[in-house]
């Protein structure tokens, strides 16, 4: 009897653990489907099926249309490029890595630094390298990148004359109370090269312009975390509504590269994020 129960339990467990490729993208929103040759790239995002200006966490599945199976050991790369009438440039983006504890899912991120339009368009090339299929480049052209209603990304020129790109990663759905706040900070090396900036500090001063510039206590400025490459801190929000997260970016020698402290007369910094919930 006991043996039978164990057997049944074991069987059930196996069934539950059978995760399909479809399960692994459950809850994700499809952004694009790109086919070339024997392969199809499926591009996903978490909350919305649109690519937007600023930080985009992108999930990828790759299907071999001949075998009908999803590739589990792919080495993927990508390359974004903005085509403008007079010039073209890239944006900050990550490498692509396998999502832990999945078989078929890969992820990476883009920080798009401008929206696409009729004239100016983004192009993203996805590459797949494997033993036999050395190259399977798929180009999505044009890739539509929309602007966001609330500001979650800011580019600015620092006092050192460098172009910086600051993108809010978290919180995606803010709550009243203490939120983990995370952001990426990049700088432009040339039109096609954007490098992460290390060991700066991003000071935050959350304010409610509708409430006499009310602020919250106990906020923790964002500092660089070398293991994740993210800047992270603590953001306290005392109520729901519209918040302006005023920013000051200081370099490793504590010099303000951009941003203004809030005082009686200065009600907002020159750089800020916006949250509304």
């Amino acid at each position: 009897m006991l043996g039978l129960t164990l057997l049944l339990t074991a069987c059930n467990k196996d069934e539950v653990n059978e995760v399909t490729a479809a399960d692994e993208v459950a809850g994700l929103q499809k952004v694009d489907t790109l086919t070339k040759g024997n392969y199809t790239f499926y591009i996903y995002k978490k909350d919305t099926g649109n690519l937007v200006v600023g930080y985009n966490e992108v999930y990828i599945q790759l299907k071999n249309n001949v075998t009908g199976k999803y590739v589990e050991d792919a080495t993927l790369s990508w390359k974004p490029l903005m085509h403008m009438t007079m010039m073209s440039h890239a944006c900050p983006y990550s490498t692509i890595s396998k999502v832990a504890d999945t078989k078929t899912l890969y992820k990476g991120y883009f920080i798009f630094i401008m929206a696409s339009s009729d004239m100016d368009y983004w192009e993203v090339s996805y590459d797949y390298t494997s033993g036999k299929d050395t190259l399977a480049e798929v180009t999505n052209r044009p890739t539509v990148v929309q602007s966001t209603g609330k500001i979650r990304y800011k580019s600015f020129k620092g006092v050192d004359n460098t172009s910086y790109f600051l993108a809010l990663v978290n919180p995606t759905s803010p709550k009243v109370g203490t939120n983990d706040i995370k952001a990426y900070l990049y700088k432009k090396v040339d039109m096609l090269t954007f490098n992460p900036v290390q060991n700066y500090t991003v000071e935050i001063d959350p304010r409610m312009p509708d409430m006499d510039n009310h602020t919250s206590p106990g906020n923790v400025n964002l500092t660089y975390d070398s293991t994740t490459g993210l800047y992270s801190g603590k953001l306290n929000l005392t109520m729901t509504g519209y918040w302006k997260i005023n920013l000051i970016v200081r370099d490793a020698s504590n010099t303000i590269q951009k941003g203004d402290p809030i005082t009686g007369t200065t009600t907002a910094s020159s750089i800020y994020f916006e949250l509304e919930f």
């Binding site: 109370g177 006499d212 919250s216 109520m239």
Partner: protein, 673 residues
């Protein structure tokens, strides 16, 4: 829990020790052989059937006006309705207000709805005012005193039906009152019922100046009933439904759309159980208060807000009284569970932005269970010693995760719930000497922080223009109290003098925290409740009464209070020197009176808490009354003029100095059918 109780018992023993010492001293000093048994005035009778209407110059006056006449009671006034009572100059957080022993907690974070606003004075039999720690056996966290509003009970008597019709009109504010009360008694069953309606427009202060937003409307339905199961056993029940609507608060930035109270109880009573046990009453009760503020009628509102609040309490008490030898004892166990929740939704001027939401009372839960022992030891015909002790366990916290997350930003290491042990011990010695009565009492006890003091979030106080945040980690406030009273009563005159002194440790009060940011547009800053090292409050009263030419009664009252914090700065809302004198003519059915009330300049005001110097004032009131009889119908008519000189004045207790009523002519009519 056990551990808490041990501490309580040890502390209790210490305190009673010191009380005994003092009492023995008092006994030694007062040896005479005369016998008089007369209590100092602690119970003031008001209301309909319990009321000798010929002696009440204005029987249909509001609850607030009645409360104002009680010794040691003052009222903080924010408008024409729902004034907040204080006892010994201590307000809601330090006193208890119960209805027939039922605990009820107001639902408004801005104190717009004191418990006294949910009953109708005409349904009351009397109001028990208890001063200090021994104020009320059923009360909790009340170191300043307690009010117990005793509802009318027709009782089990010979079959009788009594119906009264009441109506009143007051010129000032076009104030209309109409109501009817019914009392039916029989040996097996009794019931009381009442329907009362009051409505007033804006009242006028002196010099004919209208105080805008001082209107109100109130409907109260009440019933009490009792059923006798056997000679000794009975059940009793109460249902009250009270709705105040369109209530203006001229002293505040917003009004009240509606304040609804549903109050109910059921009790089981056994009487004359044995030689030792007199009565045993167990009562279950529940009440639900819903309070909705309204700023839509105000001009120039910086930001429209919705601010609903609710307070629900379920509780019970079981009280056993009896006598062993010379000991009259009461053993009572009580417990209650309260939910107080209030929220605020603010609508930004820029309609594109989303509304802003927060909890001002983040679904605060309080459970309290206590045990009270009271022993009135009649040593001999001249000496009585009363000892009262209470120990209770309290668990309070915030149920809302949203609210908990909010408070954690301010107190990162706070816990969602916490336990507190509370206790009090008091002793009172009474000595009777011919016409003289002497009383001396000592007590000590603690109170837990109120929901606002512990968990309140950005509660705007229009008095000092600060926003208040609670501190869940506050210590209990404790008080050591001493009181003394002397009364001399002769057939034609009486004099009484009483004084009380409270020494608080860990006194809870809001202090500015400049590191915190305001929310309300234009607020001066944010205050956080904290424990002050100590504070003191002293109260003294002198009352005299002289009866001359058979029908004339001349009464005088002088009152003085002083409240200081740990730096000897004045505490807020402490009464200045006040006086009143009245001359009444009472001859069977006819009565007439004139009285003068006033106060000196309030020099010990607390600028820190938004007070300013309140000038001296006095007002004069007059009244006449007559009891008619037309066959079986006996109408009583009372006519009077209040503030005859039409003075424009405000007292220390008027929020933001809003002026009190100017001249007012009233007529009260009561018909017994």
């Amino acid at each position: 829990m056990n551990w808490n109780f041990k501490i309580v018992i040890i502390k209790a023993a210490l305190c009673t020790g010191c009380c005994f010492g003092l009492n023995l001293l008092a006994i030694a000093q007062n040896k005479t052989d005369s016998i008089k048994s007369r209590e100092l005035k602690e119970v003031v009778v008001t209301g309909k059937t319990g009321l000798d209407s010929i002696h009440e110059s204005k029987p249909l006056s509001s609850m607030d006006e009645h409360l104002q006449k009680l010794s040691n009671v003052n009222l903080i006034k924010r408008g024409g309705y729902a004034w907040e009572p204080t006892i010994n100059n201590m307000a809601t957080e330090r006193i208890s207000v119960t209805i027939d022993g039922m605990k009820i907690f107001c639902a408004c974070t801005d104190r717009m709805d004191p418990v006294t606003s949910y009953v109708e004075i005409l349904n009351l039999d009397n109001i028990h005012v208890g001063s200090g720690l021994a104020g009320n056996l059923h009360s909790t966290n009340s170191i300043g005193g307690g009010l117990d509003l005793k509802l009318q009970k027709a009782g089990f008597h010979a079959r009788k039906l009594n119906v009264t019709l009441n109506s009143a009109y007051e010129t000032n504010g076009n104030y209309r009152i109409i109501g009817s009360g019914l009392a039916y008694s029989s040996l097996k069953f009794y019931t009381n019922a009442g329907v009362f309606y009051r409505k007033s427009d804006d009242y006028k202060a002196g010099n004919n100046s209208t105080v805008n937003f001082s209107q109100f409307e109130k409907l109260n339905l009440f019933t009490n009933f009792g059923y006798r199961l056997s000679a000794q056993k009975s059940i009793e029940g109460t249902v009250i439904y009270d709705v105040a609507s369109n209530v203006g608060y001229p002293a505040l930035t917003m009004d009240v759309k509606s304040a609804k109270g549903f109050i109910t109880s059921l009790s089981y009573k056994q009487e004359n159980i044995s030689e030792v046990l007199f009565s045993w009453e167990t009562k279950l009760y529940f009440n639900n208060i819903i309070h909705i503020m309204d700023d839509t009628k105000r001009p120039n509102v910086a930001m429209h807000m919705d601010m609903p609040g609710k307070s629900r309490t379920a509780g019970y008490y079981s009280s056993l009284s009896g006598r062993v030898g010379k000991h009259n004892f009461v053993i009572s166990h009580d417990s209650y569970y309260n939910q107080s929740s209030a929220e605020m939704t603010m609508y930004p001027k820029d309609a594109a932005n989303k509304p802003m939401f927060m909890y001002t009372w983040p679904d605060i839960r309080t459970f309290n269970a206590g045990l009270t022992l009271d022993d009135r030891y009649i040593i001999d015909l001249k000496n009585t010693l009363q000892l009262t002790t209470k120990a209770s366990f309290q668990r309070d916290g915030v149920e809302s995760t949203f609210g908990y997350n909010t408070l954690q930003m301010y107190y990162p290491d706070m816990t969602q719930y916490q336990n507190r042990g509370l206790w009090s011990v008091s002793g009172k010695y009474t000595h009777y000497l011919k016409d003289i009565q002497l009383k001396a009492g000592v007590g000590c006890g603690t109170r837990a922080p109120s929901p606002t003091e512990a968990y309140g979030f950005y509660l705007y106080n229009s008095f000092d223009n600060y926003e208040y945040i609670g501190d869940p980690q506050l210590k209990n406030e404790s008080s050591v109290e001493g009181n003394i009273a002397f009364a001399l009563t002769k057939p034609t005159y009486s004099i009484s003098l009483d004084g009380s002194y409270f020494y608080f440790s860990n006194y809870i009060v809001g202090k500015p925290n400049t590191s915190l940011s305001t929310m309300t547009i234009g607020a001066s800053g944010v205050k956080v409740y904290q424990n002050l090292n100590h504070a003191t409050i002293f109260n003294a009263n002198l009352n005299t009464k002289y009866i001359f030419l058979k029908y004339f009664h001349w009464l005088n009252h002088l009152g003085y209070s002083l409240g200081q914090d740990n730096k000897n700065n004045p505490l807020p809302l402490i009464a200045p020197f006040s006086y009143s004198t009245s001359l009444d003519y009472v001859n069977k059915k006819f009565s007439a009176g004139v009285d003068l009330q006033g106060a000196t300049k309030q020099t010990n005001f607390s600028a820190e808490y938004g007070e300013d110097l309140t000038p001296a004032y006095f007002i004069v009131n007059t009244s006449v009354g007559y009891d008619f009889i037309f066959g079986h119908v006996a109408p009583t008519v009372k006519i009077g003029i209040e503030n005859v000189l039409d003075r424009k004045y405000s007292t220390y207790a008027d929020w933001n100095n809003i002026p009190r009523k100017g001249r007012n002519v009233y007529i009260n009519l009561k018909i017994n059918l």
